[in-house]
């Protein structure tokens, strides 16, 4: 048995050791699902990683692993980061949910941040952006710029996140142009430039003159550029891929969130939680407008942005009708976050049927 003095000494030693370590930088790890590249989902996360490196200088040290498959490997890589002294770990793809939760159980002192998931624990926080707000704004631009009144949408998989984006886009479009409709092609891949390009061209062939995408490559914007129609980018500003075609982009900005969370981790005040931030929180932004976008369009977008920011406008404020004309949300009501996160039907204005499974 230890005598009190020995205990005290041990406690002092531990205290000393911890203060000694405080000078060490906080190690922060990032797990990416795809290569960083120069545009797209992972790229935006990496922009934020570089941002916190700049802000916190030598107080932190970041590392990242790209292209981590969403299977058994994710768990190993996350664990590797935790065992190698990373105290704050961002896992940036939906498929990392269970691995993150599992590793977090083993490392209660390490803070985890999982993007787009719905499972949380004491040391696992989740964060996601209201991407649909940006979609709504993109819809306004498309609705104003389209001449054929048909927009094309290249989409990956019919999960709620994507369906919600399509619906928000259509609602934005029809808020300024009630005649406009959208056509959707599913390519069954988040990232397949060839197929995205083919889908984009098929949509153009079917009369679409503004394209929107929910996939990860820049092929859709490039297709629009070469065919002389418009496109609105997603994830990142994709204007360099289509200087003439790219009207704007609905982009994600994780810089503010990451900065805030790192600050908490440094100060020892980090807490788990769930953030669903949008325009108001600065997580969703529109990229700079193309020259072709006229001032009245810009004004319509900035008015809507302002209205969303101060809560006066919600893309899914009633009445919301579905494709068959059935009122899903009556006037005066707004769709709840719960309904939003499991959306699996098209709103009025989408051509074609949602693939039933």
């Amino acid at each position: 048995m230890l005598r009190p003095t020995a205990l005290l000494a041990a406690a002092a030693a531990i205290a000393f050791a911890t203060t000694g370590q405080a000078a060490d930088p906080l190690k922060i790890g990032f797990v990416y699902v795809s290569p960083i590249g120069s545009a797209g989902w992972t790229y935006q996360h990496d922009v934020a990683r570089k941002h916190i490196e700049k802000v916190y200088g030598d107080k932190i040290k970041t590392s990242y692993v790209e292209k981590v498959p969403e299977g058994a490997d994710a768990e190993r890589v996350i664990r590797q980061l935790a065992t190698s002294g990373h105290k704050l770990i961002f896992t940036t793809s939906f498929g990392y949910m269970d691995p993150t939760i599992k590793v977090a159980k083993r490392f209660p002192k390490v803070h985890f941040e999982h993007a787009t998931g719905y499972k949380r624990s004491k040391n696992v926080a989740t964060y996601i952006a209201r991407f649909y707000e940006g979609r709504y704004l993109a819809g306004i631009v498309a609705g104003k710029m389209t001449k054929s009144n048909v927009a094309g949408y290249v989409a990956a998989f019919p999960i709620p996140e994507v369906v919600r984006g399509i619906n928000a886009f259509v609602r934005g479009m029809r808020s300024v142009n009630p005649k406009a409709t959208v056509r959707v092609i599913w390519v069954s891949s988040w990232y397949d430039p060839g197929k995205e390009r083919e889908a984009a061209e098929a949509l153009i062939g079917q009369g679409a003159d503004v394209l929107m995408q929910h996939t990860d490559s820049t092929a859709v914007v490039q297709a629009a550029e070469s065919k002389g129609v418009y496109a609105i980018g997603y994830h990142s500003d994709m204007s360099k891929f289509g200087p003439k075609a790219h009207l704007t982009a609905s982009t994600h900005d994780w810089r503010g969130y990451y900065e805030a969370r790192v600050k908490m981790a440094l100060a020892g005040t980090w807490k788990s939680g769930a953030i669903w931030g949008g325009i108001k929180e600065g997580m969703v932004k529109m990229a700079p407008f193309n020259m072709a976008v006229t001032d009245d369009v810009k004004k319509a977008v900035s008015d809507a942005t302002e209205a969303i920011r101060n809560g006066k406008l919600h893309p899914f404020a009633g009445p919301v009708k579905d494709q068959d004309g059935k009122v899903r949300i009556p006037a005066g009501k707004t769709m709840s976050d719960k309904d939003l996160s499991s959306m699996s039907w098209y709103v009025e204005g989408v051509d074609g049927k949602l693939p039933k499974k």
Partner: protein, 362 residues
């Protein structure tokens, strides 16, 4: 004019295959790969020694990490053991990836069917289903080859793409979990539908044990059984096999089915092991990498055992090298390809030797 100052070299067959070289060739290939790797790292402006240490040593310097190697090696080992049977008989099943997926679907389907149920019998049923599922997927190219002479390389590969879409269809559709907000995942498997862990400190699970047990079993099957003998003869001397009356369709069936069944088991090991449910992505290309493993292991079960551990190390090394040195993980693929090239090149010296013929007038 020959390039070496009038010296001429001639390749001539050895009277007897060199067993020593046959065994040494993989080691030579590994050494050459590491050397070229060092040069490559240096060219990238990275300290080659530090990079090699990060790639080959740091992934295995603790006990849990050694366990990770086993977890990663198991699916490679299973797929390669099965593929090797076919390769020995010149049956080119390159669709193990698809067979792995269908095995996972079959086994996972059982787990989902018994959702909420408990009982010792669930896991054995899953194993049987995965076995059968993988074999059934491999039976398609076997049938098309034996019945219609369709090239199994192409059909087995095309079926891999079909399997991947089938998986997508199921997890996005009928098998999607009702509790997952429409995300493309199945329900979590119940506890009795999961492969138990073997130890407390590592991630080693029962599926890894399956792989290890498969090594001696496949050794018996390929080296000591009549079926294995037939396949062997068909591969080495097709004419002799004809004379002996071995039916070539039988060889195709044996080769394809063993590859498919073991790949199916590998798929189960992933979904009932670390993943614990069905989802969009199950395997990061184990079925393809297993082709390298099979050749690296000289199509021999014991060789495959070591080759899969090495391949697992290459994968893990890719991860540590990026965490520690920011080296892009694609290095892993370059290493894998180089390894196989060097091995195939070194094989020349198993059956042949090079003789200097002396000076000749130009």
């Amino acid at each position: 004019m020959s390039p070496l100052g009038g010296m001429r070299f001639q390749i001539e067959p050895r009277l007897e295959q060199s067993r020593a070289i046959r065994t040494l060739a993989p080691l030579i290939a590994v050494v050459l790969t590491v050397l070229v790797g060092a040069v490559m790292f240096a060219a990238l402006g990275v300290d080659p020694l530090a990079a090699l240490a990060s790639f080959f040593l740091h992934p295995v310097d603790t006990l849990p990490e050694l366990g990770d190697i086993g977890v990663k090696a198991a699916p490679l080992m299973l797929c390669a053991l099965g593929l090797a049977v076919g390769f020995r008989g010149n049956v080119w099943n390159i669709g193990a990836e698809g067979q792995l997926i269908v095995g996972a679907l079959a086994g996972g389907g059982v787990a989902l069917a018994f959702h909420g149920a408990t009982g010792w019998y669930i896991l054995p049923l899953m194993v049987a289903a995965a076995f059968a599922g993988g074999a059934a997927w491999a039976a398609i190219p076997a049938f098309l080859r034996t019945r219609f002479h369709a090239n199994e390389i192409l059909t087995s590969l095309m079926l891999t793409y079909v399997a991947a879409q089938l998986l997508g269809f199921l997890v996005h559709g009928p098998w999607r979990s009702p509790d997952a907000f429409n995300f493309p995942v199945s329900r979590d498997f119940g506890d009795d539908a999961r492969l138990p862990y073997l130890t407390d400190t590592t991630e080693l699970h029962l599926g890894v044990l399956f792989a290890v047990i498969a090594v001696p079993l496949m050794w018996v099957l390929t080296q000591r059984s009549y079926a294995g003998f037939q396949v062997q003869v068909a591969g080495l001397a097709p004419r002799a096999a004809d004379y002996a009356g071995f039916k070539s369709s039988r060889i195709v069936w044996i080769g394809m089915l063993s590859g498919g069944a073991l790949a199916g088991l590998a798929g189960l090991g992933e979904v009932a092991g670390p993943i614990g449910k069905l989802q969009d992505q199950i395997s990061p290309g184990y079925g393809f990498a297993a082709i390298i493993v099979a050749f690296l292991g000289r199509l021999h079960p014991v060789g495959i055992f070591f080759a899969s551990l090495l391949m697992a190390l290459l994968y893990l090394g890719g991860g540590t090298a990026q965490i520690e040195m920011q080296i892009p993980p694609a290095v892993t693929g370059v290493f894998q390809g180089m390894l196989l090239f060097f091995l195939l090149g070194a094989d020349l010296f198993v059956g042949y030797r090079i003789r200097r013929v002396g000076r000749v007038a130009a």
